[in-house]
Symmetry: C2
Amino acid sequence: MQKVNIQEKLASFSDHWNPRIVGELNGQHVKATKLKGEFIWHHHDHEDELFLVIKGKLKMEFREKTVEVNPGEFIIVPRGVEHRPVADEEVELLLFEPASTLNTGNVENERTRKELEKI
Amino acid sequence: MQKVNIQEKLASFSDHWNPRIVGELNGQHVKATKLKGEFIWHHHDHEDELFLVIKGKLKMEFREKTVEVNPGEFIIVPRGVEHRPVADEEVELLLFEPASTLNTGNVENERTRKELEKI
Protein backbone atom coordinates (compact mmCIF):
# COMPACT_ATOMS: atom_id res chain seq x y z
CA MET A 1 0.00 0.00 0.00
CA GLN A 2 1.67 3.12 -1.29
CA LYS A 3 0.18 6.55 -0.90
CA VAL A 4 -0.05 8.83 -3.93
CA ASN A 5 0.94 12.49 -3.84
CA ILE A 6 -1.23 14.28 -6.40
CA GLN A 7 1.14 17.23 -6.94
CA GLU A 8 4.09 14.89 -7.54
CA LYS A 9 2.14 13.01 -10.19
CA LEU A 10 1.04 16.23 -11.89
CA ALA A 11 4.60 17.59 -11.82
CA SER A 12 5.88 14.54 -13.70
CA PHE A 13 4.36 15.53 -17.05
CA SER A 14 3.53 18.70 -18.90
CA ASP A 15 1.40 17.85 -21.94
CA HIS A 16 -2.32 18.51 -22.14
CA TRP A 17 -5.32 16.26 -22.78
CA ASN A 18 -3.32 13.11 -22.07
CA PRO A 19 -4.57 11.52 -18.84
CA ARG A 20 -2.26 9.30 -16.77
CA ILE A 21 -3.55 6.52 -14.53
CA VAL A 22 -2.55 7.17 -10.91
CA GLY A 23 -4.84 4.71 -9.13
CA GLU A 24 -7.13 1.76 -9.75
CA LEU A 25 -9.93 0.38 -7.59
CA ASN A 26 -13.19 -1.47 -8.09
CA GLY A 27 -12.83 -1.38 -11.87
CA GLN A 28 -12.45 2.40 -11.75
CA HIS A 29 -9.42 4.50 -12.63
CA VAL A 30 -8.12 7.61 -10.93
CA LYS A 31 -6.41 9.71 -13.58
CA ALA A 32 -4.34 12.89 -13.41
CA THR A 33 -4.43 15.25 -16.35
CA LYS A 34 -3.72 18.79 -17.49
CA LEU A 35 -6.02 20.72 -19.77
CA LYS A 36 -5.51 23.85 -21.81
CA GLY A 37 -7.80 25.17 -24.51
CA GLU A 38 -11.00 23.59 -25.75
CA PHE A 39 -11.75 19.91 -25.97
CA ILE A 40 -14.36 18.37 -28.27
CA TRP A 41 -18.05 17.86 -27.66
CA HIS A 42 -18.70 14.24 -26.68
CA HIS A 43 -20.59 11.98 -24.34
CA HIS A 44 -20.02 8.57 -22.79
CA ASP A 45 -22.69 5.96 -23.41
CA HIS A 46 -21.95 3.88 -20.32
CA GLU A 47 -19.77 5.88 -17.95
CA ASP A 48 -20.35 8.67 -15.46
CA GLU A 49 -17.28 10.89 -15.01
CA LEU A 50 -16.05 12.87 -12.02
CA PHE A 51 -13.77 15.90 -12.54
CA LEU A 52 -12.01 17.12 -9.38
CA VAL A 53 -10.14 20.38 -9.98
CA ILE A 54 -6.72 20.77 -8.34
CA LYS A 55 -5.53 23.97 -10.03
CA GLY A 56 -7.11 26.53 -12.35
CA LYS A 57 -10.68 27.09 -13.44
CA LEU A 58 -12.44 24.40 -15.47
CA LYS A 59 -15.35 25.49 -17.59
CA MET A 60 -17.56 22.48 -18.18
CA GLU A 61 -19.83 23.30 -21.07
CA PHE A 62 -23.18 21.58 -21.47
CA ARG A 63 -25.62 22.27 -24.27
CA GLU A 64 -27.80 24.42 -22.00
CA LYS A 65 -25.30 25.92 -19.57
CA THR A 66 -21.69 26.19 -18.47
CA VAL A 67 -20.50 25.30 -14.97
CA GLU A 68 -17.26 26.77 -13.61
CA VAL A 69 -15.40 24.34 -11.39
CA ASN A 70 -12.65 25.72 -9.17
CA PRO A 71 -9.93 24.08 -7.05
CA GLY A 72 -11.48 22.02 -4.25
CA GLU A 73 -14.63 21.45 -6.27
CA PHE A 74 -15.81 18.55 -8.38
CA ILE A 75 -18.53 17.90 -10.93
CA ILE A 76 -20.07 14.59 -11.97
CA VAL A 77 -21.11 14.32 -15.62
CA PRO A 78 -23.67 11.52 -15.98
CA ARG A 79 -23.48 9.05 -18.85
CA GLY A 80 -25.23 10.20 -22.00
CA VAL A 81 -24.80 13.90 -21.29
CA GLU A 82 -22.95 15.87 -23.95
CA HIS A 83 -20.17 17.99 -22.52
CA ARG A 84 -17.05 19.89 -23.50
CA PRO A 85 -14.27 20.77 -21.03
CA VAL A 86 -12.68 24.17 -21.65
CA ALA A 87 -9.61 25.59 -19.91
CA ASP A 88 -8.80 29.21 -20.77
CA GLU A 89 -5.69 28.87 -18.61
CA GLU A 90 -4.07 25.57 -17.69
CA VAL A 91 -6.18 23.36 -15.45
CA GLU A 92 -4.91 20.43 -13.39
CA LEU A 93 -7.41 17.83 -12.27
CA LEU A 94 -8.18 14.31 -11.18
CA LEU A 95 -10.65 12.13 -13.04
CA PHE A 96 -12.52 9.27 -11.42
CA GLU A 97 -14.26 7.01 -13.90
CA PRO A 98 -14.61 3.37 -15.05
CA ALA A 99 -11.48 1.80 -16.49
CA SER A 100 -13.37 1.41 -19.77
CA THR A 101 -13.71 5.18 -20.26
CA LEU A 102 -12.28 6.67 -23.45
CA ASN A 103 -11.37 10.35 -23.15
CA THR A 104 -13.31 11.34 -26.27
CA GLY A 105 -16.32 9.15 -25.45
CA ASN A 106 -18.45 8.47 -28.52
CA VAL A 107 -16.01 10.29 -30.83
CA GLU A 108 -12.74 8.89 -32.13
CA ASN A 109 -10.27 11.30 -33.65
CA GLU A 110 -6.73 12.57 -33.26
CA ARG A 111 -7.42 13.59 -29.67
CA THR A 112 -8.42 10.08 -28.61
CA ARG A 113 -6.00 8.41 -26.16
CA LYS A 114 -6.43 4.65 -26.05
CA GLU A 115 -3.31 3.51 -24.22
CA LEU A 116 -2.87 5.49 -21.04
CA GLU A 117 0.40 5.50 -19.14
CA LYS A 118 0.39 4.41 -15.49
CA ILE A 119 2.55 6.69 -13.37
CA MET B 1 -25.25 19.04 -13.23
CA GLN B 2 -24.29 20.77 -10.02
CA LYS B 3 -20.72 21.15 -8.90
CA VAL B 4 -19.78 20.19 -5.34
CA ASN B 5 -17.60 22.35 -3.12
CA ILE B 6 -15.74 20.00 -0.79
CA GLN B 7 -15.08 22.59 1.94
CA GLU B 8 -18.73 23.61 2.03
CA LYS B 9 -19.79 20.00 2.49
CA LEU B 10 -17.24 19.45 5.25
CA ALA B 11 -18.28 22.66 6.99
CA SER B 12 -21.88 21.47 7.18
CA PHE B 13 -21.26 18.87 9.91
CA SER B 14 -18.91 18.42 12.85
CA ASP B 15 -19.21 14.86 14.13
CA HIS B 16 -16.58 12.20 13.54
CA TRP B 17 -16.69 8.75 11.91
CA ASN B 18 -20.03 9.47 10.27
CA PRO B 19 -19.54 9.68 6.49
CA ARG B 20 -21.94 11.72 4.33
CA ILE B 21 -22.61 10.94 0.69
CA VAL B 22 -21.64 13.90 -1.51
CA GLY B 23 -21.60 12.23 -4.91
CA GLU B 24 -22.67 9.05 -6.71
CA LEU B 25 -21.41 7.60 -10.00
CA ASN B 26 -21.04 4.18 -11.58
CA GLY B 27 -22.29 2.44 -8.45
CA GLN B 28 -19.65 4.22 -6.38
CA HIS B 29 -20.11 6.79 -3.65
CA VAL B 30 -18.05 9.87 -2.91
CA LYS B 31 -18.25 10.51 0.82
CA ALA B 32 -17.02 13.33 3.02
CA THR B 33 -16.08 12.55 6.59
CA LYS B 34 -14.17 13.79 9.62
CA LEU B 35 -12.05 11.54 11.78
CA LYS B 36 -10.60 11.99 15.24
CA GLY B 37 -9.04 9.31 17.38
CA GLU B 38 -8.71 5.61 16.55
CA PHE B 39 -11.12 3.56 14.51
CA ILE B 40 -11.42 -0.24 14.70
CA TRP B 41 -9.44 -2.87 12.85
CA HIS B 42 -11.50 -4.18 9.94
CA HIS B 43 -11.38 -5.17 6.30
CA HIS B 44 -13.83 -5.17 3.39
CA ASP B 45 -14.40 -8.49 1.67
CA HIS B 46 -15.47 -7.04 -1.67
CA GLU B 47 -14.56 -3.35 -1.80
CA ASP B 48 -11.38 -1.39 -2.41
CA GLU B 49 -11.37 1.99 -0.64
CA LEU B 50 -9.72 5.29 -1.55
CA PHE B 51 -8.95 7.85 1.18
CA LEU B 52 -8.13 11.35 -0.12
CA VAL B 53 -6.97 13.64 2.68
CA ILE B 54 -8.20 17.25 2.61
CA LYS B 55 -6.99 18.41 6.05
CA GLY B 56 -4.82 16.93 8.79
CA LYS B 57 -2.63 13.86 8.89
CA LEU B 58 -4.21 10.43 8.49
CA LYS B 59 -2.30 7.49 9.89
CA MET B 60 -3.45 4.39 8.05
CA GLU B 61 -2.36 1.42 10.09
CA PHE B 62 -1.81 -1.96 8.48
CA ARG B 63 -0.66 -5.06 10.33
CA GLU B 64 2.91 -4.66 9.07
CA LYS B 65 3.28 -0.90 8.70
CA THR B 66 1.69 2.52 9.07
CA VAL B 67 1.35 4.98 6.19
CA GLU B 68 0.96 8.70 6.89
CA VAL B 69 -1.31 10.40 4.38
CA ASN B 70 -1.22 14.20 4.20
CA PRO B 71 -3.43 16.77 2.45
CA GLY B 72 -3.24 16.35 -1.31
CA GLU B 73 -2.41 12.67 -0.99
CA PHE B 74 -4.53 9.55 -1.25
CA ILE B 75 -4.16 5.88 -0.41
CA ILE B 76 -6.06 2.93 -1.84
CA VAL B 77 -6.74 0.06 0.56
CA PRO B 78 -7.45 -3.12 -1.45
CA ARG B 79 -10.26 -5.46 -0.47
CA GLY B 80 -9.29 -8.07 2.09
CA VAL B 81 -6.56 -5.96 3.68
CA GLU B 82 -6.96 -5.26 7.38
CA HIS B 83 -6.57 -1.61 8.26
CA ARG B 84 -7.27 0.91 10.99
CA PRO B 85 -7.52 4.66 10.35
CA VAL B 86 -6.09 6.80 13.16
CA ALA B 87 -6.30 10.59 13.46
CA ASP B 88 -4.31 12.08 16.35
CA GLU B 89 -5.76 15.46 15.38
CA GLU B 90 -8.92 15.94 13.36
CA VAL B 91 -8.67 14.75 9.77
CA GLU B 92 -11.01 15.72 6.93
CA LEU B 93 -11.17 13.48 3.90
CA LEU B 94 -13.04 12.18 0.90
CA LEU B 95 -13.77 8.49 0.40
CA PHE B 96 -14.33 6.85 -3.00
CA GLU B 97 -15.78 3.39 -2.69
CA PRO B 98 -18.62 1.16 -3.91
CA ALA B 99 -22.07 2.13 -2.70
CA SER B 100 -22.21 -1.22 -0.90
CA THR B 101 -19.33 -0.33 1.44
CA LEU B 102 -20.01 -0.43 5.18
CA ASN B 103 -17.70 1.80 7.22
CA THR B 104 -16.72 -0.99 9.62
CA GLY B 105 -16.37 -3.63 6.90
CA ASN B 106 -16.52 -7.15 8.31
CA VAL B 107 -17.28 -5.89 11.83
CA GLU B 108 -20.64 -4.66 13.07
CA ASN B 109 -20.73 -2.74 16.30
CA GLU B 110 -21.77 0.62 17.75
CA ARG B 111 -19.51 2.43 15.26
CA THR B 112 -21.26 0.94 12.23
CA ARG B 113 -23.20 3.47 10.12
CA LYS B 114 -25.75 1.81 7.87
CA GLU B 115 -27.88 4.72 6.72
CA LEU B 116 -25.72 7.52 5.44
CA GLU B 117 -27.06 11.00 4.92
CA LYS B 118 -26.81 12.58 1.48
CA ILE B 119 -25.73 16.21 1.70
